[in-house]
Amino acid sequence: MGDKSQSSAEMLKGTLDMMILRTLVTGDAHGHTIAKVIERTSEDVLEVEQGSLYPALHRLEDRGWVSSHWGASENNRKAKFYRLTAAGRKQLVRESNRWRQMTRAIGLVMGEQAIGEEAIADGGAR
């Protein structure tokens, strides 16, 4: 089923999954709310594409990280609510740790000159 061209999308998908899980920490939510919350909290930098939101939600559900149930939305519409499971919580911790390491590493690479020089000097001293 896999296609090679998806490999770059794979990483984005990973972050989307993580953000969805993070959103659900504050409580159950349906698709629209999840998208809204991500967009608002990212100060509208991130725009969640519906084309990937729903497949992502279903994927998370398959893996047992979220569960779903039908409930009434704020406007009293029958909507599918997603809830973070215990496994999902653990996964979120793993993901956020990985994310923090990643951003730090990227930050190191992309950071100020000084850090870089320090590192070089360090290497020379040994």
């Binding site: 089923m1 349906h30 698709g31 629209h32 709310t33 998208a35 809204k36 594409e49 519906q50 084309g51 729903y54 497949p55 279903h58 994927r59 398959d62 939305s73 704020e74 406007n75 519409r77 029958k78 909507a79 599918k80």
Partner: protein, 879 residues
Amino acid sequence: MSWFRFFHRRRSDAELQQEIDVYLAEETAENIARGVKPEEARRQARVKLGNPRSVRETLWQQNTVSLLDTLGRDLKFATRTLTRTPGFSLIAIAVMALCIGATTSLFTVVRSVLLRPLPFRDPSRLVMVYEHFRDARSNAEGFNYNAVAPADFFDWRAKTHGFQDMAVSRRCQFDLTGERGELPEAVGAGAGSWNLFPLLGVPAAIGRTFTESEDRLDGTSVMLTWSLFERRFAGDASIVGRQIHLDGKPYTVVGVLPKSFTWPEAKMQVWVPYLSGLPPDLLPHHDYHFSLVVARLRPDVSLASALSQVGAVQYRLHMQNLHAPVAEDVAPRNLNDDLARNVKKPLLLLMCAVACMLLIGCLDVANLLVARGAARQKEVAIRGALGARRLTLIRAQLTESLLICLAGGAGGVLLSLAATQWLSSAWKELPSAAGIHVDGVVLGFACAVVFAAALLAGLLPAISSTSKAVFASLQASSRTTSGSLSRATMRKTLLTVEIAVTVVLLIGAGLLLRSFVRLRGADVGCVTDHVLTLDYSLPEKEYGSPQKVNAFNEALLAKLRALPGVRAVALGTVLPGEGNGGDDVFTIKEHPALKPGELLPEALIRGADPGYFSALQIPLLKGRFFTSDDRLERAKKVVISSALARQYFPGEDPLGRTLHVPARKDADFEIVGVVGDTLWQVGKPVLPTMYFPMLDGALEQGGSLAIRTDSDPLAISIPVQKQIASLDPQLVVSNVQTMERAIGDSLGNARFSASLVLIFAGLSLLLASVGLYGVLSYLMTQRTTELGVRMALGAQREQVLRLILFDGLRPAILGLALGSAASAGFTQLIRSMLYDTRPLDPAVYAAVTFTLLMVATLACMIPAWRASRLDPMQALRAE
């Protein structure tokens, strides 16, 4: 991907649709709350969402198990294509059903008879041990496996230690008389040493098996087989411990054998201990071969070393009895082969024939698929152009052939159930010990055949019809005249192979048929039509003296000869064509003593009443027949067959010479006559035969009657049995049938192999001709335009006819040549199954060539004739 979601894709799609709807509604509501007009709010919401269909498609894909999905799609597609051309589909399915059915039923029989272990404990360690004569003459006649003399067996068992144990058995027959006035019947019986059942690992179902102390000359224990126990004693277990009467003597039932035990044949219905009832004077002899020895190997000793010990003992026995027929060596045979000794070759031959037919069937279906592939060339090309991968295209086509084979396989298995049942009941020679029925392995085999056939029939056309060249058909103009030359070549190659295999089958069938006709027509040496035969036996208790036996026999003969419609009656011990019946060694008193190492002469023995030869029309060559005066003490006379005279009295008048026969009370017999040879079994070489007077009063305990009649011999069978009953109502009469039937039954193997191979060959010929017709029709359609041009340019109809005809006949003739050449090799393998027929019989080859050419011409004629009827204008305008 989740299995649950895969099978609930529709539901989750609906759910998703609802989620999307909620999303749109929420977004719209939010937009309206921001003060956007409802119309605009809805539009913005939609813009933000993007294409809902693509979301659904993504998710649908995500929930799909792709292999199953494509398989499902392929199946759906293939079913649709097949139902669109029901004619083609039905023919292809019928062909496959026939081929797979025939293969499966043959395999069922082969597996049951040759492969499946017998229902014994650890049957792979069991082996039959026979005496084995090394001299070339014995081996030439196929006497490699000689029954064992009891004295030999006792020496083997006592003096060797290579086997865990050895047991011995022999065949016998009893008259089972009723305790409460039930009808008496003749039952086949086995006599087995006390250790036979423990050695085989067969415990008694009820009661026990024999004990060592019961295995003695006057032993009177008996075991019943399950079938007799159920049939005659209504499955009443209280029979164990009671007495039954065999040949008028009381025997105590000690046990009942389990239902699975029908070894060595179902005919044997009771078992007695080996020694029970055995004439004591037989025991010390090393040349009375009538027993079967079965041995169980020790786990730590190889068969070869165990046998070499037995062989050494046997060689010593041979050296001690140089003049007597005591074998030099021993030979092993596994139990399955031992039971199937007569049918193994025919079965393997039939298996080969049926495999050939299966191959032809596959090639035929492949051919039909190639033809369809041609018609669907454009479709394949378009699908390819639209991005279908080649593997996808091949898979789609394979699915089609798989569907055909699956449907055919289902039909075939049903067909084989019926065919197997018929075969196992009609083919009497098939051993029944293992039981012939379809089991899991057979079904597995059928499945394997189905998939192999699907692959064979589907792969070739699929590969050829999806090759890159196919895409050229999109560019090609409609006026291509030599559109798919390579495909035509492939079809012709397939066809040539098909015809070559058919020819091999036809020639094999022809040879077997000719051999069978020769067997049927074989001169038995006596009259066989309008002859009724039957056996009766005289219980020793009531007929204990020679006078009593003679009185009964003569009274019976007088009564029967007086019956209206009876022309003549012969009474003997064994009738011509009805088996070996035993042989004895003899010496000729007037001849010098034998040189050391020379074997004693040997001849079949028969009893004959004075009317025997004239009733059976066996010609008198010299001297005289017996007279009613050759009786009792005056019966020391012998009539010899022409073969005996030729072999042992070359250039000498045998009349008046004396034969000394140790086995007949060590007496001398004067040769009074020489008669023509008769066959003891049709298809086997003539053996020297000695006839002794039936009226010598020897306690033969019965005889065989041959009654020659004016009209239908079976019509007289009831009056004859009434006459016997009027003399003694307790007598058991058996094997009432016409002589032709009795001889015909002995040819069962030849009849079955000849007729089945002929059927397979006929079907193959039909399949090949259908293939030929199909290929040619297809080629003609391909060349319609070309033919139109030719005719427009002035080609005559006859020329077109000839053109197409030869086009079709070329693969036929090539296949014929290849097949004939291959047959010359293959038929050498069935040489031993042929009677009086050479493997290169020119008549058979000529007949096959003629038949094949006729059928091929007929198959080609129809498309050729159609081609010659083409209207050139229409042909040119076509497409």
